[in-house]
């Protein structure tokens, strides 16, 4: 095990995969000479050269189309989109090309590319640089979507995503890059895409979250424990394909569910979780599913207002209490 920051864990995943497979290459805005806005690709251009770590102009639409065609041509591109807020610009290549080509050509073509991006609020970056658009991509069949919270899962899932034959959208969170954690050593330590993880076992209520919301859920669980409420925290890690088995197992035990997502409430990923729980666990539910997500409005630049809007531990704990009332 090595203690490292989330950004360092991603960096080592990229380095190891590029060492392992010469067809892996990266491109994006300011990822080469500058090392990436969040320093995820620091030192990689020096090590692998300008052909495999490419700085590009600002055109997310062109970059994504490039990634799809490069993947079809036998390489494994890793594209960085600086902010998840810019994902709408990538959608044609993702939704009309990458996600359906395998189907249109009857599996004769693989699209092994990774779109890395980061979203989320909490640092006053305003309405255009703080969104969580998880559901935009998780909505689309043919695309896998992961959102790890720990450095270990970040590394293991990124390596798995690079090796995956399907397009994978890899969602990071700007407030996670400095989080430290133990990361297993070894070049082939992968984390399986589509597997949730029980972060904390509990018996009274299940809290399902991804990315930074897992940390909020864990904090909520500690708050609830003071009142004798035993919350189980499940880090879904993958949004699509969803690990419904892990969800069912937890609800069969606790009979209460709180679903958390930093994206908007209406049509958000939390809504999908809630509906899936209703589909699979209805007879196990002892209360309606509680949803904790972002109110339906633009994210304010003002930090106090932003803080008031973001889903957090207090809101998750309140939702758990409401479910258990």
């Amino acid at each position: 095990m090595t203690m490292m920051r989330y950004a360092e864990a991603l960096n080592s995943a990229l380095r190891e995969e590029m060492q392992r497979d010469p067809t892996v290459f990266m491109f994006g805005e300011d990822i080469g000479r500058y090392g990436g806005v969040f320093k995820v690709s620091k030192g990689l251009m020096e090590e692998f050269g300008e052909n495999r770590v490419r700085d590009t102009p600002i055109s997310e639409q062109a970059l994504t189309a490039m990634a799809v065609t490069a993947a079809m041509s036998g390489t494994r591109p890793v594209l960085e989109i600086m902010y998840a807020d810019f994902m709408p610009l990538t959608l044609d290549a993702l939704v009309n090309q990458a996600s359906v080509f395998g189907y249109l050509w009857e599996g004769q073509v693989e699209i092994p590319f990774v779109l890395r991006t980061q979203g989320g609020g909490g640092v006053g970056t305003g309405a255009q640089h703080a969104k969580s658009l998880d559901s935009f991509v998780a909505h689309v069949p043919g695309i896998k979507v992961v959102a790890p919270v720990t450095p270990a899962d970040a590394k293991g899932l990124l390596k798995a995503a690079i090796r995956d034959p399907q397009p994978v959208v890899f969602l990071e969170h700007k407030l996670l890059y400095n989080m430290r954690g133990e990361v297993p050593d070894g070049d082939d330590v992968l984390v399986t895409i589509g597997k949730a993880k029980v972060v904390k076992e509990g018996t009274d209520v299940s809290i399902f979250a991804t990315s930074k919301m897992v940390l909020e859920a864990e904090q909520a669980a500690r708050e609830l424990a003071k009142d004798g409420i035993s919350a189980e925290v499940i880090d879904l890690r993958t949004l699509r394909p969803l690990d419904i088995g892990a969800i069912m197992a937890s609800i069969a035990k606790t009979h209460h569910a709180v679903v958390v997502n930093e994206g908007w409430t209406f049509c958000g990923f939390a809504a999908e979780l809630s509906a899936s729980i209703m589909d699979h666990c209805f007879d196990d539910l002892d209360a309606p599913v509680e949803r904790v997500a972002m109110p339906d409005m633009a994210i304010p630049y003002s930090e106090p207002l932003e803080t008031a809007m973001l889903p957090n531990a207090a809101k998750i704990a309140a939702a758990a209490r409401k479910a258990l009332a």
Binding site: T203, H255, D283, D286, A287, A325
Partner: protein, 440 residues
């Protein structure tokens, strides 16, 4: 009926209260609609409150200098100078300005939606229960309409079936020194079923209670009067020490005599089966038929750990293990079932009494009483029903039954055939009852 004067929206949308500065009229004055009556101070400014209608000012409730909420009544405008009758804090009448109406409606609809979010709808007056509570109730044979929900939402939850709460509750350990109480009083008896016909007397097994007959009680109750009894130290019956099986048998016979029944079909399970057999031996002319489900007393072998462990189990986790031992298909022992079973075992005095009883009746893990001679003496129609996967009392003990008894041995069935094979058991019993019509 007088019209109240209120601040309403004039108080400003961010304010909870205002301060009364000055009344420009006095009681008894004639008032025209829209006339300036009183000036109040809000955060923003001094605001004039106008008369909502014409009439006479008949009361001033809020004197200058007092702080009032936006909904309080400042004064009254009556039809004449003596008209002071009004309805407390009723919302403004249709004399109120249009803006007032709109704000009232907004407030009301907010209040309604808040209430809706807490209280689930009750379509057609049906009981509202969570899906999990509804399923658990169905499994336990509980009528949810008779249970009072504890949730502020008014929705029945699992815990209302005495499961979730029990599972979380701190359950005290069995007091050291075992049984102390020696309560007097008759055994608890439950009556159900039809009014006529030969009653079916049901005697439950060790560690259970009269409610444990739910898998077959309802089916039998359609055609027979049902009499269920809680054994001593079980359910709602008194706790008292019995050092020998004969003491227990005496209790059952006494309780039976007190019912003044001419004739009964007797049905007993496990330890209750031993009691049923003893009753049939002691009161042979009262017993129309005898059905024994995995009965005790037919051999020395018993899983002594089962009786002791079941009696001592103070937590759902430990109880679950023993309950699972009693069935072949452990899927029957769901968390809801364990919760329901645990809910009847919360009282540490009950568990202590049962632990003592297990020790007295099954010393050294042995059935300390032998009813095989009594079994040979039974003359009424008799059936012995056993599961061949019984891990508590070996089914081979059924073979000591006399040739005239009917034996029913079920494959892949544990110690509680009435739970694992309810339809079969009911069919066997109905055939037995039909074949032994009694003296009528």
């Amino acid at each position: 009926m007088a019209t109240p004067v209120k601040v309403g929206v004039a108080g400003g949308e961010y304010m909870e209260s205002v301060v009364v500065l000055e009344w420009t009229v006095k009681t008894g004055d004639a008032i025209s609609a829209g006339q300036h009556l009183v000036t109040v101070e809000t955060a923003k400014a001094a605001t004039e409150i106008e008369a909502p209608c014409e009439g006479f000012l008949t009361a001033i409730f809020a004197e200058p200098g007092t702080e009032v909420s936006l909904t309080e009544t400042l004064g009254l405008i009556g039809a004449d100078t003596a008209d002071t009758a009004y309805e407390g804090d009723e919302p403004a009448t249709d004399h109120a300005p249009v803006a007032d109406e709109a704000s009232l409606q907004a407030t009301t609809s907010e209040a309604v939606s808040a209430a809706e979010s807490l209280s689930p709808p009750t379509p057609g007056g049906r009981t509202v229960a969570s899906p999990a509570a509804r399923r658990a109730a169905a499994m336990a044979g509980i009528d949810i309409s008779r249970i009072t929900p504890t949730s502020p939402t008014g929705r029945m939850k699992l815990r209302d079936l005495a499961s979730a709460t029990i599972m979380r509750a701190e359950i005290p350990l069995v007091p050291a020194g075992g049984l102390s109480a020696n309560e007097a009083g008759p055994l608890k008896v439950y009556l159900s079923g039809t009014k006529t016909g030969i009653p079916v007397l049901m005697l439950h097994g060790f560690g259970a209670d009269a409610m444990s007959w739910f898998p077959i009680e309802r089916a039998l109750a359609r055609a027979h009067p049902i009499v269920r009894m809680d054994l001593p130290n079980h359910g709602k019956s008194p706790r008292r020490r019995m050092t020998r099986f004969a003491d227990l048998a005496r209790e059952i016979v006494d309780a039976f005599d007190a019912l003044h029944l001419d004739e009964v079909h007797v049905l007993g399970h496990s330890l209750g089966g031993a009691c049923a057999l003893a009753l049939a031996d002691i009161r042979p002319r009262k017993v129309a038929s005898l059905a024994l489900l995995a009965p005790g007393g037919l051999g020395p072998v018993i899983n002594g750990e089962f009786a002791a462990g079941l009696a001592r189990a103070s937590r759902p986790e430990s109880l679950e293990q023993w309950l699972k031992l009693s069935v072949a298909d452990t899927r029957l022992i769901s968390p809801e079932f364990v919760g329901a079973a645990m809910s009847s075992r919360v009282d540490p005095a009950l568990r202590a009494a049962q632990a003592q009883m297990a020790n007295d009746l099954f010393p050294d893990g042995t059935q300390g009483f032998d009813l095989r001679p009594a079994l040979q003496r039974v003359e009424c129609p008799m059936r012995v029903i056993w599961g061949k996967a019984d891990a508590v009392i070996p089914w081979q003990q059924a073979l000591s039954a006399p040739g005239r008894a009917g034996l029913h041995l079920f494959e892949a069935t544990g110690h509680v055939p009435q739970m694992e094979r309810p339809e079969d058991v009911v069919a066997i019993l109905e055939a037995l009852f039909a074949a032994s019509g009694g003296k009528q």
